[in-house]
């Protein structure tokens, strides 16, 4: 086992070894070499420290996917703080809630987002120091913002921080069942133990070109950003709009000679259907990684028929552990296979057990909850002591095991099969959604009396989300109105697929909403 190095060491080391190599590219926009990215992130570090950021602080990063965002993130890490990436596609009240919840010292933000955000921050009484970018692209937006501030008063050079292994590197917010997002805290050791496992398993080289499809507030981005930087390889950024456009993505994989692709199954499925893959030269692509949801076998078979030569890996794990199990898809999928592939074997940097409801270890072959321990596990949820008490199982030796809430069966060979969830969390397009957060959002509508949201399995979409509503009066909000209302209140991926009005929602004998009846009707 090698000595601990903080997460930003990957960039610093590669910049020392290969300063002129391309570190990051935004196709059609531009990119930076390792030397340039390292330098720009040092300037961001100096400015953040001048703004008052200190080791142990949190700093929000509210930027579209860009070279500027990669540099800003490294500036935060070099200042010894943890970065908190915000979703540019989410409503501004949600961003404000997150920034206030984890009490960021500073915020790196695009001016276009700040206009809507500022009043929301004001309502909460939050007042972070600001580093405002007029635009983002190949790093010029960040450089221009730093130049502007330097002209007023130059930021004195600050040392690059050397945080402890347990210091926080980033906080990723995920859907919370009470309607409020919750912050998953990840340490430098959690991040680097995962990246080092990726190195062993996927053996990247300096000539690799990695896709960065997932947004930076999504845990897939940890592999995307840090694995190429560790190996002196290149990171190819795919922006939010382009990322949803399979035709353009097919073109991009060919033109950018991507060698390692990582995304949710949903986007791979769109690529297979709409990406015109058969027309393209995709010989450079050697590894396809997917995570975030179940990949239905008929869809995976279609993708492999169009793109036969890469190796395919199913990676599994919640944000709290990042990837914790993995499985390589066999080169040929038998024609009669319909059941999804296993989530696989436990990653070598973690340990796993399958336990019953009382937390007792179960033998192989029995269904139970998957729990994990090891350096890759989250430190806890930000400022939620009760949730933290529920999230971990502490064994007789004092070891903390994270309870995934996922029901699995472990085979005698150590391969796990996923069987479902214990609670009301669902995965949709790779995003995890607490159905309670959708209910809380809809319940704010003044014309609605009761709201219940269920997820129904769907062969094409994985799941469909249906909202059952009872109105307060005769004036029922129209479908168009409801969808617009949801879009203002919730992230896009949480907007239900369908809405059904009932005079009153069905109740169980104990007067709770009868979800089983609703699911059957859904």
């Amino acid at each position: 086992m090698s000595a601990f190095r903080p997460l930003h060491t990957y960039l610093i080391d590669s910049a020392a070894r290969r300063p002129a190599a391309r570190a990051v590219d935004d196709p059609g926009v531009g990119g930076l070499t390792y030397g340039e990215l390292d330098r720009l992130s040092e300037r961001a570090r100096d400015r953040l420290v001048a703004l008052g950021v200190r080791p142990g602080d949190r700093v929000g990063v509210y930027l579209r996917k860009s070279v500027d965002a990669v540099a800003a993130i490294h500036g935060v890490l070099k200042a010894g703080a943890a970065y908190v990436p915000l979703d540019p596609g989410s409503p501004s009240w949600r961003a404000a809630f997150i920034l206030n919840d984890c009490a960021v010292r500073a915020l790196v933000v695009e001016r276009a987002f700040l206009d809507a955000l500022a009043p929301e921050l004001g309502k909460l009484g939050a007042d972070p120091r600001l580093l405002v970018l007029d635009d983002v692209g190949a790093g010029e937006g960040l450089a221009a913002a730093l130049d502007r501030l330097d002209r007023v008063e130059p930021a004195p050079p600050a040392p690059t921080a050397t945080p402890d292994p347990e210091a926080l590197a980033y906080v990723l917010y995920t859907s919370g069942s009470t309607g409020k997002p919750k912050g998953v805290m990840l340490s430098h050791r959690a991040a680097t133990s995962f990246v080092d496992w990726c190195s062993e398993t996927f053996e990247p080289v300096a000539t690799d070109r990695f896709s960065s499809h997932a947004p930076f507030h999504f845990d897939l981005s940890i592999l995307d950003i840090y694995l190429p930087l560790k190996h002196g390889a290149s990171l190819v950024l795919i922006g939010e709009e382009l990322g949803k456009n399979p035709l353009a993505l097919g073109e991009l994989i060919a033109a950018e000679r991507i060698t390692i692709w990582y995304s949710t199954p949903s986007i791979l499925n769109l690529l297979a259907q709409f990406g015109r893959l058969e027309e393209r030269e995709l010989g450079a692509l050697r590894t396809v990684l997917f995570a975030g949801e179940v990949f239905p076998v008929p869809q995976l078979r279609r993708l492999k028929a169009r793109l036969p030569h890469p190796r395919y890996f199913n990676l599994y794990g919640p944000t709290e552990t990042n990837v914790c199990t993995w499985y390589e898809i066999p080169p040929a999928i038998p024609d009669d296979r319909i059941e999804p592939f296993p989530i696989g074997a436990t990653c070598s940097h973690l340990r796993s057990m399958v336990v019953d409801e009382a937390g007792r270890k179960l033998p192989p072959g029995e269904e139970g909850e998957l729990v994990l321990s090891g350096p890759g596990i989250m430190s806890g949820y930000w400022n939620l002591p009760e949730r933290n008490a529920q999230a971990f199982l502490v064994d007789r030796d004092g070891v903390r095991w994270y309870r995934t809430g996922d029901l699995v069966v472990e085979g005698p060979d150590g391969i796990h099969q996923f069987h479902g969830r214990r609670d009301r969390m669902v995965k949709r397009r790779g995003y995890r959604i607490e159905l309670g957060e959708i209910e809380a959002g809809l319940a704010a509508h003044p014309e609605l009396r009761e709201v219940a949201v269920v997820a129904v399995p769907d062969p094409d979409a994985g799941v469909r989300i249906r909202a059952f509503l009872s109105p307060r009066s005769e004036r029922k909000p129209s479908l168009i109105e409801l969808k617009a209302f949801c879009t203002e209140r919730l992230p896009r991926y949480m907007v239900p697929d369908g809405f059904v009005y009932l005079d009153a929602l069905p109740r169980t004998s104990t007067d709770k909403i009868d979800y089983q009846t609703l699911k059957a009707a859904g």
């Binding site: 709009e241 949803k244 456009n245 399979p246 035709l247 353009a248 073109e251 949903s266 769109l270 709409f274 979409a461 129209s478 479908l479 168009i480 969808k483 617009a484 949801c486 879009t487 896009r492 907007v495 369908g498």
Partner: protein, 85 residues
């Protein structure tokens, strides 16, 4: 315009707004920014437009601004028809 708007409106009502009062879907109702179309249904709409109007949309044309309302869609389809020999 109307020869484009009517079939597109019908497509959206029957696929994504089942049960909605048709008069509420107007030429200026926001489709993508109003949460009626998500990324997958936007792609399905593009495929529908290509087949129905015999046009080919390039990747950069299938963006949010050009597809966000029925009137924007009609303008896009008209422009593509004119530019096709």
């Amino acid at each position: 315009m109307q020869d484009v708007i009517a079939p597109v409106k019908e497509f959206i009502l029957t696929r994504y707004l089942v049960g909605e009062d048709p008069s509420l879907l107007t030429p200026t109702t926001p489709l993508i920014s109003g949460g009626i179309l998500d990324s997958l249904s936007t792609l399905e709409l593009v495929t529908f437009l290509e087949e129905r109007f015999d046009i080919q949309l390039e990747a950069h044309e299938a963006d949010r601004d050009r597809l966000d309302t029925l009137s924007a869609i009609a303008a896009l389809v008209e422009a593509k028809r004119r530019s096709t020999p």
